[in-house]
Structure formats: structure tokens, C-alpha cells
């Protein structure tokens, strides 16, 4: 037995009411909900009592129908006002007076039936099935069986999107970190348990604190890998709140974990050890608190010729390769470059360098290497670079900014 509730504009109430009686429900349309009421006979009694209980629970004016199959219940709820109970085996007779437009179907189907003078479910159901199939095809056959109330099908069950959210309203506002973390710990454990129950982990944690006489405090922690350890998440929250504390006492807490598939890794006996992601994330959060979030990460070179352009990204693994032991000469970059004064010879070669690092005569030099770029934007750059060996100092890269006409020590070869 299936029950159908039909009330335009009250979907949330209909779902709430249906959910009270059965977890198996179908959201047929934005104004119609069908749910399975088999097994309620022992609790409420006959169909009339079940219908009365549903109507009492709903509390608003809606059309309710009980029938042996979902489609008959839907058509009865849409076609008859109030409460309708369709007896088993009498679906065709009960639905016969209903207007045909309730069946739905394509516009061509409706036009054809209108031309034939067929107006009700009963008239359509009385047509010879072979003739309907020959003229209206598969759609006609299916709709005719619906009109006679004979279609048995499974419910298309409604699956709620998984939301892992917890909120707490506090009687007294909290202005100290320790009691706040105590409450957050409880909330995190609850949400993590729910995540575990659903076989999920999280890769993003969102915290919102409603503050007294101040704008809301929000913090979003994006995790590099899915995690489910409440202690790790609490530690990350602790570090975040310590580094950026709320400006006023909190009076309401909202915590949400974004569910994702848990991480599955295949460990190998001969693979080198790597830092544990949870432990590493806590360590990185501590280091970020020390040196700033922008200063921690794996460098990634950007696709441009502008010198010293990179961005920080996340640590990732790569395949094993062979690298020769022989070292290559590398540059140590001064950030920012040291301003310098350079005396040049008549040929334009650097002859003497004065800088905060030291002063000296240029023993040997190679250059100039002229590079420029982004001239089509406001951030144009144009420079010439020299490699110079300065007496008693070392081997340096110096450059002249052609747009500003100034020299600088870019770095030293080491």
C-alpha cells in the first residue's frame, strides 16, 4: 500500500510528514510525495486509520490518497480532493472518472486523444490495447496501463544530500579559547562519527562563530588529503584559532565538514618513507603560524620568462629517476635584490661594484644578456644581466633595469 500527498507549494512539509511514517519515499514532483505505508496496519489499523493519522500529522490542507501502487495513489491524490482510499482491485473503477490530462504524456498524445473524443481515464482504459499500441506506440501502452491503475513499480527513492553540520547555541557567550575548543571537540567528534558511519572522510572544514556585537568569524581549513581523525582536525582548528583569534565572545557555533571519499593508499615494502599526511598537516599549520602561510609549500615554476617567478603549491610525489651525483652551479637569489652602484668601462662592461654585500673590482665578466617581457601590460620589465667575478667577494649575477636605469645584485653563484 502506498500513500500520496499532494499540496502545491508545501514540499518541505510533505517530505517531513512522509519521513515521519516511512523512510521509503519518492519526490514525484515539487507538489507530490509518495511513500510506502506497508506495515503500518499493525500500528494504526485499517487504511482509514492510517489516512487519518497521516492527515493529523500533516496539519495542513492537502490531498491524500492510499492505493496499492504508486501511480494509482498519485492520480487519485491529484484527481480527488480530500482523503481517498482506492480499494485493492478496484483501481480502474475508482480512477475512471478522472480527466485525462492528469496522465501527463506528450502533447501529440494529448492532441490525438482529444481528436478521438477520449476525455477520461475510464474511456482511455476501455480502448483495445493492441489498437492503442499500433496507433500511439509504447507511450500509449504505458499510459493506458496507468489509466487502468494496473502499473506496479518500485518507488524512485529520494536520497537526501549528505550534510555533516553541527551547530550549538550557547547560553553564555564564550571568550576564552579553552572552553571554545572543548565544545568544538564535542561537535567534531559527533560529526566525525557520522562521517565514519556513512563511510566518508572530509577534505574541508568550515567553522563559523556568531560573535557578540561583531561580524561573524569564519575559518575554512582545506586539507590536502581526506581525513577523519577528530583529534587532528581539532588540533588544526586550535592552531587556526590561536593564529587568528575571534575579536569578540562567541555566542553560537556552526561547524561543517565537507564529505568526500576516504583516502585509499597502497603501501609498498620497498617504497621510501613519506611524512604521514595528518602529522605533516599539523606540523605545517604550526610552521605557517610561525612564518606565514604564503611562505610554506613546494615551489612551482611558472611558465614565463620573467626572472624569479614561482608559486607555492602542495607537496606531491613523483616517479623514481636517476640523477648524476655531479653538482651543477646554482644561483642564490637575493630577495629583494641588493641595490648596487656599478662603474662601467668605455665599452660598457662593469668594472667596479659597490653594494651592501661589499665593494670590489670586477675581475672577469660575461654578458650582457638582454631580456624583456610583458611590454604589453603595465608590469613591463626590461633588463640586462651580467655574470661577474668580483675580487674578494665571489661570483655574482648583476643586472641593470633598463626602464629605471638602476643596477642591482640579483644573487651569487654558489
Amino acid at each position: 500500500m502506498f500513500a500520496c500527498l499532494h499540496a502545491p507549494g508545501n514540499l518541505a512539509l510533505l517530505l517531513e510528514c512522509a519521513g515521519h511514517f516511512s523512510p521509503l519515499m519518492e519526490e514525484t514532483s515539487p507538489d507530490t510525495v509518495v511513500f510506502d505505508v506497508r506495515g503500518l496496519r499493525r500500528m494504526f489499523g485499517a487504511e482509514e486509520q492510517i489516512a487519518a493519522a497521516i492527515a493529523r500529522r500533516l496539519g495542513i490542507k492537502a490531498h491524500l490518497a492510499l492505493a496499492a501502487n504508486p501511480d494509482a495513489a498519485v492520480h487519485a491524490a491529484r484527481g480527488f480532493s480530500g482523503t481517498t482510499i482506492v480499494p485493492v482491485g478496484r483501481e480502474a473503477a475508482m480512477l475512471a472518472p478522472l480527466p485525462l490530462y492528469l496522465l501527463g504524456g506528450s502533447s501529440e498524445f494529448a492532441r490525438n486523444l482529444d481528436l478521438w473524443g477520449i476525455r477520461t481515464f475510464g474511456e482511455f482504459a476501455a480502448l483495445p490495447p493492441l489498437g492503442v499500441v499500433a496507433r500511439l506506440g509504447e507511450e500509449g501502452d504505458q499510459l493506458q496501463r496507468q489509466a487502468s491503475g494496473a502499473v506496479q513499480r518500485q518507488l524512485r527513492l529520494r536520497v537526501d544530500p549528505l550534510v555533516f553540520r553541527e551547530e550549538r547555541e550557547l547560553e553564555d557567550s564564550i571568550d576564552l579559547l579553552e572552553p571554545l575548543l572543548f565544545l568544538l571537540s564535542q561537535m567534531l567528534h559527533d560529526v566525525c562519527e557520522r562521517l565514519r558511519f556513512h563511510g566518508r572522510a572530509t577534505n574541508e572544514l568550515r567553522l563559523r562563530l556568531k560573535l557578540e556585537r561583531a561580524a561573524d568569524y569564519t575559518a575554512t581549513l582545506s586539507l590536502p588529503v581526506p581525513m577523519l581523525n577528530a583529534k587532528v582536525l581539532l588540533k588544526l582548528l586550535h592552531l587556526e584559532l590561536t593564529g587568528r583569534p575571534p575579536q569578540a565572545p562567541a555566542e553560537r557555533l556552526y561547524l561543517e565538514l565537507v564529505p568526500v571519499e576516504p583516502r585509499t593508499t597502497q603501501h609498498g615494502l620497498f617504497l621510501p618513507a613519506a611524512p604521514e599526511p595528518e602529522k605533516l598537516e599539523i606540523t605545517l599549520a604550526r610552521i605557517r603560524g610561525l612564518v606565514g602561510a604564503a611562505n610554506v609549500g613546494a615551489p612551482e615554476i611558472l611558465d614565463t620568462h620573467r626572472p624569479d617567478t614561482f608559486r607555492m603549491s602542495m607537496l606531491t610525489g613523483s616517479k623514481e629517476t636517476n640523477v648524476p651525483l655531479c653538482p651543477k652551479l646554482v644561483l642564490r637569489r637575493f630577495r629583494p635584490p641588493h641595490p648596487a652602484k656599478v662603474w662601467c668601462t668605455e665599452q660598457g662592461k662593469p668594472a667596479r661594484v659597490f653594494s651592501p654585500v661589499g665593494n670590489g673590482t670586477v675581475l672577469t665578466c660575461a654578458g650582457p644578456w638582454h631580456i624583456a617581457g610583458d611590454w604589453w601590460t603595465a608590469e613591463a620589465w626590461d633588463r640586462q644581466e651580467w655574470d661577474v667575478e668580483i675580487s674578494k667577494l665571489g661570483v655574482f649575477r648583476i643586472s641593470r633595469d633598463n626602464l629605471r636605469g638602476v643596477w642591482a645584485l640579483d644573487g651569487n653563484y654558489d
Binding site: 613519506a274 655531479c326 655574470d387
Partner: protein, 206 residues
């Protein structure tokens, strides 16, 4: 020695130290290695070759850069897998570099943790107490992490298992100057271990 002889007779084996190869000899894991030398003496070239070797073996490395001097393009040209290198820019704060190194050493899982103090003021580096070096050494003891520092001079004294002192012997230029190219430097490395010194000479070419 007598104790070990007796232990070996009972079937115990002396623990062999784990190392990984480098141009300046084997670098010990679970211990502190100091690389020291003046500007342009090949310190960073040696460090980058260690990073390249480690990352090529799929190990993760951390570089605590006290003065923000790490040049990713040079590192990539040396063969360093940048995606496996955690770079921490300390903005000239030596204390932050040491604290971060301590945290990473305690956390474990890294093949190499390097502290670059090569351009830090000598006065600030000299002020690092011996206890701090000992603490970091204890952090990596009995792990597979090699702790390496780069500075202008040796500072950790008895804390370090290996001291590599570098000196530039020659600078190579290629082609007719000007318009030629800086080709590389020849470096003499004095490696001191257990009071025994070995000398290696290597060339860091561009």
C-alpha cells in the same frame, strides 16, 4: 672495543650506519652534517645535488631557507623534483628556521631536512646555542632523516657527524670575453669525520 668483541662473540652485530652518496662522500642519515664555506664556494651546488639525489629516490625533503635565497629554477636545472621539496621561507629569521627544522625533524618522514644559513649574518648564526644543535640532532637520531646545514663556518662543533668545508679553487669561463659564459667553479671539499679528514675536488658546471 673489548665490549664489542665480546658482544660480537655472543652473536650481536654492530649497527651499520645508513648513508647516501654524494660528490663529497657519504652523507649519514640520522645525524647532522655541516656544509660550510665562503660565498661562491659551491655550498649551494652541493646542497642541491643532495636534494636532487634524494628526490630522485622518491624521498621528500624540507629546506628551511633563513634568508629566502633558494632559486627554484636553478634547483630544477640541478635535477631537484620541486614537488617533493617543502620550502619554508623564514624571511631572515634564523630562530624561525631552527624552530621549523626542529618541528619537521620531530615529525619524521623526510629523507633530508636542510637548513640554509648561508647568507644569514654570522653574528646571528654564532648565537645559536649548542643545546639547540643537540636538540635537532636528537630529533633525527635513529631515523632515516639526514639533517644538513649550510653556513659560512662550522658552528655545531661536536654535534655534527660530518663537516664538509668547501673552498672555490678556480672559476671557469667559456668563450671569448665579453660575450662568453660562466661555465662553472672548481671546488675543494674537506670532509671531516671522526677526526679524519678527506679531500675531494669536484666541479660544479652550469
Amino acid at each position: 672495543m673489548a665490549i664489542w668483541t665480546m658482544a660480537e662473540s655472543l652473536g650481536f652485530r654492530k649497527r651499520t650506519e645508513e648513508t647516501f652518496p654524494s660528490i663529497a662522500g657519504d652523507i649519514p642519515r640520522g645525524a647532522l652534517t655541516e656544509i660550510a664555506g665562503p660565498v661562491s664556494s659551491g655550498r649551494t651546488s652541493l646542497l642541491h645535488s643532495l636534494l636532487a639525489g634524494m628526490t630522485s629516490r622518491q624521498e621528500y625533503c624540507a629546506l628551511l631557507d633563513a634568508e629566502n635565497t633558494f632559486h627554484p629554477e636553478s634547483a630544477a636545472a640541478s635535477g631537484v623534483r620541486l614537488s617533493q621539496v617543502l620550502w619554508v621561507r623564514c624571511g631572515g629569521n634564523v630562530e624561525h628556521a631552527l624552530k621549523a627544522a626542529d618541528m619537521l625533524a620531530q615529525g619524521g618522514g623526510f629523507g633530508l631536512v636542510a637548513i640554509d644559513l648561508g647568507d644569514s649574518p654570522e653574528r646571528a648564526v654564532r648565537r645559536i646555542p649548542l643545546a639547540a644543535w643537540f636538540r635537532m640532532r636528537h630529533g633525527v637520531e635513529n631515523t632515516r632523516t639526514a639533517l644538513v646545514t649550510v653556513a659560512r663556518a662550522i658552528h655545531a662543533r661536536s654535534c655534527s657527524a660530518l663537516k664538509v668545508e668547501l673552498d672555490r679553487k678556480h672559476t671557469f669561463w667559456r668563450g671569448q670575453l665579453p660575450g662568453g659564459l660562466l661555465n662553472g667553479i672548481e671546488v675543494a671539499a674537506h670532509c671531516t669525520r671522526n677526526h679524519q679528514t678527506q679531500e675531494h675536488v669536484f666541479t660544479a658546471r652550469r
